[in-house]
């Protein structure tokens, strides 16, 4: 009796794992077929047959690639099911969880994971959306770094250079400003809620609107130049108005260094780029201020009382209590800030379009330009390759930041 039971249990396990394997492979292949590259257009979409014929014609390598992936994932899933099957409790949990997750999983894998797979495949192709993708191997990835050998193809390197400066300057400043504001607003001042609202306003406003306002402020005859003129002229300094968003002079050039334009990478961030940085700090700092405020509320006030009794002044309290206890939130803010700064796009798109002389070009703007074909043919393959390189860089930086910042986090 027992042995019969066991063998029927065994059969069920095998059957369940085979079924899981088949279902996983089927779903992934269905998603792959729906995301496969085609020439698009209403003619292709007319009937299922014409669409499938088009997919067969243009996407065989893509389907083979995803097919292999789906078999691997299917085997993993089937093994999991096989091991779980004989334990009713685990089995129930697994199936209940996945049946609740299935609508979301299906949509995500179709419209997010499927599209990412597609983009990864396309990054090895020359693809203009309308004609068949042509396999060119690693050429797109090589092209991104061609700037090292051919100075006429420096766009991506310059974009990376710009956004690295952007991160180095913006992240520390906006984090410091956010902590400062949060500490101020956490103290018992009059009209605290009023100030919280006011300080938070720039983050609520759309960044498009703020950018357009700043474009006006930064004009040569604009408010900022007028303000500086008003302040400096009485001090006896003749102020020469600066064309903030149109000045490509780098930070180190301003200190009087003569740097040839062939050595653009020694010039540092340009005036135009720093103007955009300033605007970004203004917009994002309040968002992070809210996070620090939440973190400050969590700190036990007893700690401050004890410190005060021990004779610590408020700076010592801030340095030795507030900052260490905020460390997890600082990590979060620095990581989010770095990711955000490496992906900066809207300010550039609206204010400078990558100019002057490419000093405000960013990787995401370059990806947009190549994908949309605003300067030359549509180059989806190159754009996808740039996107994957950027994703890899962001992943690595986040990983390093976690290792460095988490090491010393206080645990209570």
């Amino acid at each position: 009796m027992k042995s019969i039971n066991r063998s029927s249990q065994e059969r069920k396990r095998v059957f369940a794992s085979i079924l899981t394997f088949a279902v996983i492979v089927f779903i992934i292949m269905l998603i792959a077929v729906m995301n496969a590259p085609t020439k698009g257009g209403p003619k292709v979409m007319e009937t299922t047959q014409t669409y499938l014929a088009e997919v067969k014609k243009t996407a065989v390598p893509f389907l083979i690639g995803v097919g292999i992936l789906s078999v691997i994932l299917g085997i993993i899933a089937a093994r999991t099911v096989y091991h779980v099957w004989s334990n009713p409790k685990k089995r129930n949990t697994l199936f209940t969880a996945y049946s609740f997750l299935s609508p979301y999983l299906l949509v995500t894998s179709l419209f997010t994971v499927g599209v990412i797979l597609f983009a990864f495949y396309i990054s090895f192709n020359k693809y203009d959306v309308f004609t068949e993708p042509v396999w060119i191997g690693l050429d797109n990835y090589k092209k991104a770094f061609m700037g090292f050998v051919d100075s006429t193809q420096k766009d991506f390197l310059q974009a990376l250079y710009n956004v690295v400066w952007y991160s180095i300057i913006v992240v520390p400043l906006q984090t410091a400003l956010a902590i400062g504001l949060a500490v101020l607003l956490n103290s018992r001042t009059k009209m605290r809620n009023f100030f919280r609202t006011i300080f938070y306003a720039p983050s609520v406003t759309s960044s498009v609107v703020i950018t357009l306002i700043f474009v006006w402020l930064y004009l040569k005859g604009g408010f900022i130049n007028g303000f500086l003129d008003k302040i400096l002229t009485p001090l006896g300094v003749t102020y020469d108005p600066i064309n903030w968003l149109g000045d490509p002079r780098g930070l180190f050039q301003l200190f009087g260094f003569e740097i040839k334009s062939a050595q653009w990478y020694l010039r540092g961030p340009s005036i135009a780029w720093m103007a955009i940085m300033f605007q970004n700090i203004f917009t994002t700092a309040p968002t992070f201020m809210i996070m620090f405020l939440a973190g400050l509320q969590d700190i036990n006030p007893v700690l401050y009382e004890v410190a005060a009794i021990d004779g610590a002044n408020s700076w010592q309290q801030f340095k030795n209590i507030t900052l260490p206890l905020l460390r997890p939130i600082i990590l979060l803010v620095v990581v989010l800030g770095t990711i955000g700064t490496l992906q900066v796009f809207d300010q550039v798109y609206l204010a400078t379009q990558g100019g002057p002389l490419g000093t405000s070009l960013t990787p995401v703007y370059l990806i947009f330009r190549e994908a949309m074909g605003s300067q030359g043919p549509i180059n989806m393959g190159y754009a996808s390759a740039l996107a994957f390189i950027l994703a890899l860089i962001i992943f690595l930086l986040t990983f390093i930041q976690r290792r460095v910042l988490e090491r010393g986090t206080e645990k209570y």
């Binding site: 299935s102 309308f130 605003s374 030359g376």
Partner: protein
């Protein structure tokens, strides 16, 4: 246990049904609208340029503000009179037109008829998304020779015509007579050379009341200088950049000398966002601008007296630069004949003659230049008919080549590089672009 498996399976079945349902309903909709017969042109619509599909409804999109949209609404009304069986659904896209059109085209929802510029020509023509119009043009009795010849360069690929020019503009020497009277010198004439212009700019600049000549570091404003000295940005077959030639560098040196002696100013130097605004604000005596100045001056600076003359000439010839856009037809259009008929009608002499009267744009038919009403506008337009005038189009990578020129001028005027260095770099950049790298 079995019931749970059933639940999961039925979930899958339902989701599969939903997916297939999406597909099949679309197919059904397609087949309903499919059977369209091409009706021979009836006697009552004899003036329609082509035999159109009966009851066709076509979608037409373009960019432009309210006044431009009104021009095309009127054109659609006129089209209705000649081809009454076609309904045109006008769907203007005022912002980011090119991005939107590319996305629509990739998704198969692009309009049947739409504006085409060099960017869309690059994206659509070689990939077969635009209908080649030569056959329908022959059928409608329209010839490429009906249009100003240089306009068609953008819209031609491998000998086929993919769009018809809808309008064009060019640059003229725009000036303030007041500034010339103030300096006590004669106003520009149509036989002026760049040297005359420079001399006048210097004299006016010395009075201190007006700056002399306004120009940004812009490939388009530099083009008349370069072209009139026999220079080209690229070879005729669009394979070789020709930016480090003496013809180009001489003129770059010329404008740089003007910049250094102060007779040439950039718009930002005089707190203007562009040179047209500098004229309107009476900050500068001369600049190179196009037909859009008429509207700007009428609307924003109605009290300022301004004039135009032909673009100055160089040592080799007198040449201007042309900007143009066309009307193209979606190759996947459900009603190709109706769409082509509409495109042909929009660009016909009959319709262009009406548009020209509104002062909105120049007709692409050379015989209609006399219809331009405004004196200033007409003087600007004449530059377009000069024999050596060119459309600054160098194939798919045009904007990269042009960008290289603008950046070279910017670097020179910043004092970053000499003319030789800057244009050697521009040449290398443009060549890389033309190589498709």
């Amino acid at each position: 246990m079995k019931s749970k498996i059933l639940v999961i399976l039925s979930c899958l079945v339902v989701s599969a049904m939903i997916l297939t349902a999406c597909g099949s309903s679309e197919t059904a909709a397609e087949t309903v609208s499919e059977p369209e017969t091409v009706a021979e042109s009836e006697t009552e619509e004899s003036s329609c340029p082509l035999p159109v599909e009966e009851g066709a409804t076509i979608v037409f999109s373009g960019w432009g503000d309210d006044s431009e949209q009104q021009i095309y609404k009127d054109s659609i009304e006129r089209f209705k009179e000649v081809c009454p069986s076609v309904t045109v659904d006008f769907q203007p896209i005022p912002d980011n037109f090119q991005d939107k059109l590319k996305a629509q085209m990739a998704g198969g929802t692009a309009p049947d008829v739409f504006y085409v510029d060099d960017q869309l020509m690059t994206a659509f023509a070689s990939s077969g998304q635009l209908m080649a119009l030569d056959d329908v043009m022959a059928q409608a009795g329209v010839s490429r020779d009906d249009f100003i010849p240089s306009l068609l360069t953008i819209f031609t690929l491998d000998g086929a015509t993919y769009a018809l020019p809808k309008d064009w503009s060019t640059l003229g020497l725009v000036y303030l007579p007041e500034a010339f009277a103030d300096a006590g010198i004669d106003e520009p004439t149509d036989d002026w050379t760049w040297d005359d212009m420079r001399e006048a700019a210097l004299t006016i600049n010395e009075t201190g009341n007006y700056a002399g000549f306004c120009m940004g570091s812009d490939w388009a404003r530099f083009a008349p200088f370069a072209f009139s000295n026999g220079g080209r940005y690229a070879s005729d077959d669009f394979t070789t950049a020709t930016l480090d030639t003496a013809a180009i560098k001489d003129m770059a040196t010329f404008v740089t000398d003007m910049f250094n002696e102060g007779s040439l100013v950039r718009p930002a130097d005089i707190s203007a966002s562009w040179c047209g605004e500098a004229i309107g604000k009476e900050l500068v005596a001369m600049t190179l601008e196009g037909g859009w100045m008429v509207n700007t001056m009428n609307l924003t600076f109605p009290d300022v007296v301004w004039k135009t003359s032909l673009v100055p000439g160089g040592d080799v010839t007198r040449a201007d630069v042309i900007f143009t856009n066309g009307i193209g037809v979606n190759a996947a259009s459900e009603y190709p004949m109706a769409s082509a008929a509409f495109a042909i009608y929009l660009t016909s002499a009959e319709n262009q003659g009406e548009i020209v009267k509104t002062g909105f744009a120049y007709s692409t038919h050379p015989e209609q230049i006399d219809l331009i009403g405004n004196v200033n506008d007409k003087a600007i337009a004449e530059g377009g008919l000069l024999p050596d005038t060119l459309v600054a189009y160098w194939g798919p990578y045009t904007s990269k080549v042009n960008d290289a020129v603008s950046k070279a001028l910017e670097r020179i005027w910043l004092g970053d590089q000499t003319v030789d260095e800057a244009f050697a770099q521009a040449q290398a950049e443009a060549q890389t672009a033309l190589n498709g790298e």
